[in-house]
């Protein structure tokens, strides 16, 4: 029941906090870079053939939106799928990499805690084992779902040390 309430609260927060993107609002301040006069002006100032020129061309090719006033590319981060490469994909990539590191570390600690010298192996890393943990954690989202369903991700209440009351 507690879990259900937590889920409901999370959903309500999410629905109320995420603002509704308004297409009209976007077009008032942002235009495609190829249509932005200020952007064209900036693009003229870079040395032709330089990597900066390549980047300006890429802004146009990828359909980035530029500010009407400043002519600088702005990232659309409101979840529109046609701008997925600007925030959603890098964001998911970040979460995947962060989760990978965390999951590998957690695996390593779990394995090491079953060995004879757990504290020792936290100070002096068992590198072959750590590499194995990193490789094994590449599929961490699947393992996470599995552990959530099986309840393996939680420790039983009676295993949690509490101070005497």
């Amino acid at each position: 029941m507690r879990r259900l309430f937590a889920l409901i609260v999370a959903l309500m927060l999410w629905v109320s906090v995420v603002p509704n993107a308004s297409a009209a609002e976007v077009s008032a301040t942002l235009v495609p870079c190829r249509d932005s006069a200020a952007f064209q002006q900036r693009a003229k100032n870079v040395v032709p053939g330089s990597s900066a020129a390549d980047r300006f061309q890429k802004y146009v090719d990828e359909g980035l939106l530029c500010g009407v006033d400043d002519g600088l590319p702005h990232l659309v981060v409101d979840g529109h799928l046609d701008h997925a490469g600007e925030f959603i994909i890098p964001g998911l990539l970040f979460l995947y990499l962060a989760g990978w590191l965390g999951w590998a570390g957690r695996n390593y600690l779990n394995i090491v805690h079953k060995s004879d010298t757990p504290e020792y192996k936290e100070i002096q890393i068992d590198v072959p084992l750590a590499i194995q943990c990193f490789l094994g954690a590449l599929l961490w989202p699947l393992q996470f779902v599995k552990e959530i369903i099986s309840g393996e991700i939680q420790v039983a209440d009676d295993k949690i040390p509490v101070s005497p009351r």
């Binding site: 990597s51 980047r55 890429k58 990828e62 997925a84 890098p90 990539l93 936290e122 002096q124 590198v127």
Partner: protein
């Protein structure tokens, strides 16, 4: 001798320094050779 050195390299803080250095070096090299690789993955 070499095992002692390997033990030293296995110390957690040493590993942290080594891996951070390797990661930032990879970033610097990619940014130097092909900076556009780091932008606009779409």
């Amino acid at each position: 001798m070499s095992t002692n050195f390997l033990k030293y390299l296995s110390l957690a803080p040493v590993q942290a320094v080594l891996f951070s250095s390797a990661a930032i070096s990879a970033f610097i090299v990619i940014n130097w050779l092909n900076p556009n690789l780091l932008a606009l993955a779409q």
